[in-house]
Chain length 359, copies 2
Amino acid sequence: MTVPPAPSPAGGAGAAVPDAPGAPAARPRAAVMEDVAARAGVSAMTVSRVLNSPEKVRPETRARVLAAMRELDYRPNSAARVLVTGRSRVLGVVSFDTTLYGPASTLYGIERAARRAEHTVSIASLSSLTRRSVQDGVERLRAQSVEGIVVIVPHRSAAEGLRGLPPDFPAVVVGAGDDLPVPVAAVDHRAGAARVTRHLLSLGHATVHHVAGPGDWIDASERVAGWRAVLEAAGRPVPEPLPGDWSARSGYEQGRLLAADPEVTAVFAANDPMALGLLRALREAGRRVPEEVSVAGFDDVPEAPFFAPPLTSVRQPFGEVGRHAFQLLMDRIAGVQGAPRRTVEPELVVRESTAARPG
Amino acid sequence: MTVPPAPSPAGGAGAAVPDAPGAPAARPRAAVMEDVAARAGVSAMTVSRVLNSPEKVRPETRARVLAAMRELDYRPNSAARVLVTGRSRVLGVVSFDTTLYGPASTLYGIERAARRAEHTVSIASLSSLTRRSVQDGVERLRAQSVEGIVVIVPHRSAAEGLRGLPPDFPAVVVGAGDDLPVPVAAVDHRAGAARVTRHLLSLGHATVHHVAGPGDWIDASERVAGWRAVLEAAGRPVPEPLPGDWSARSGYEQGRLLAADPEVTAVFAANDPMALGLLRALREAGRRVPEEVSVAGFDDVPEAPFFAPPLTSVRQPFGEVGRHAFQLLMDRIAGVQGAPRRTVEPELVVRESTAARPG
DNA sequence: CCGCCGCGCGTTAGCGCAAACATCGAGGCC
DNA sequence: GGCCTCGATGTTTGCGCTAACGCGCGGCGG
């Protein structure tokens, strides 16, 4: 590819043409704006304009410049541009474990939204859930000159870690508490939990047991709150929620306890992996689902329809949350004040793991 | 030019002290090196040295400078630094769907390794698997001045999309074919598939059926190859592999076909979600696992031990692969030539979904 | 007592780009 | 037809930082 090496004897200048015909060439320095300008016979400023406000350049000139860019395989130096404009078009995402379905999906949604808006995403994952660790993650990203940050850490530590942030630094939180001075994009976990609990009650169950997520995760406590509210409103006994850690294993362990209690006819697990563990424990204990015990989860992971039995769950629109988070962040960067909250409703998906109460 | 607009009547200096006591303060411009220098009573160069080669600055001076930094909440402008040094300490990761367990885990491994080496990670996900799309992802990252790129796209399109890359651009591929001119970090899928196939044969099965991943995914074809090789070496019939798309649904659909065939006593699914679908199909068809049919998966997702029954699978050390990818990339950036290949062996994890052949 | 060395710090220059202003020619207007 | 406008391009400047070199001063050998 690429046209002749020498731009011109007159325009001499020529810094670096990619593939010199002669020798093996010791890494020809990448073309810069000046090189393009020389080749197109214009000034560097015109090249810059072609990039940033093409309508201000006569079509003919523009074409010459674009051709020169192509020929030299020119790519703008983002560092220089950021230095002078102060805008990096990069945003940071702080997350805990991007291996979990929820965070991974949200991250994915953010990234897609960012891509559409011609931004890129840098990530910082945390090795622990402490105030310090969150601060550190934010710091790592700020050091990279990101324009703003999305924090996907639905954990108390996020709120704490964010307190120190300068109030004008653009940050958005996904799914965290309501006492924060930053915009929040969230799923209404409380409504989702309420919905699934009501569903179970409507099937005739006297009450619903709950295997909760870790208490310091905000999602987890919201789900507990939604579940509890429905039980209380219905005047049903509220069993002590059993603590889990989101893992299938913890669901399994709590499931063994629950399976031993013949009173238990309906269990709501705070996420799908725990529900899966629960299903295994019940099966091992010889308690049939849903004939003897109904089980519901939360998240609606893609595999939920294939559990044994297919799992009733609450579908979280992670992609949408990601988009909202991105949009809130862009608004914030654009100078919109305040701490708005965009909440989306999750959807109950009823499958075969829940059924009428036995007897 | 330069030098303080108002260095000091006293120690006054102050370009931008974060919290001016007076008015609401219209966003006090962030402190720059010159501000720190003024406050510490040194030149900007000394401030720079404190950051980059502290041993060249007398401890006393260094302490003054550090104090000034803290007082001004100074943070170096990365764009300026990148502009002048040419090094960004950012690397890019191109991935397809970071929602899938494998890519997500690998990304996570890379990010952890990068963090330890004080690098950050930018991501670019692809909306489709085509040569163009991969090129585009790479391009987006290059435009951000990343120092190198890891491509987690174990798909034919990755190889194609990478061909156009300048040979000296640092790039590393995770788990893709061996005809690439770039370093590769991979799991030995072939060995893993062979291992699980041998395991099934050793249980007395006459042959092993296979639900494969999409043919254009390199992992998928490697697994087919490993499975096929073992069957052929053992002189067993090689059934036509059934095509899946990695999803539980596709495993389910192929499982319905397999369940209808009484000859089928052992099935190896190319990943765990498909194995899960398979399990459901067999269950629905009344074929018991493992008594009548043995099922094995690949990946060993954290939930696999809680499937019904707990799934025999092949554990992929994604974290290790991520670390290798990062290391290869760093070597490459440091100038190491060649296209080395770091392969890790996956491990067979036997659980209850596989058992001796019936009868 | 002179010259040399090297430590510790300062000065200069320039990375690549875009904002702000300058320039220049072609019309339009009365 | 002089003057003003306006569109298209050029020139200057500086974003914040670090590489490269310069300089003064104290110590040390002869």
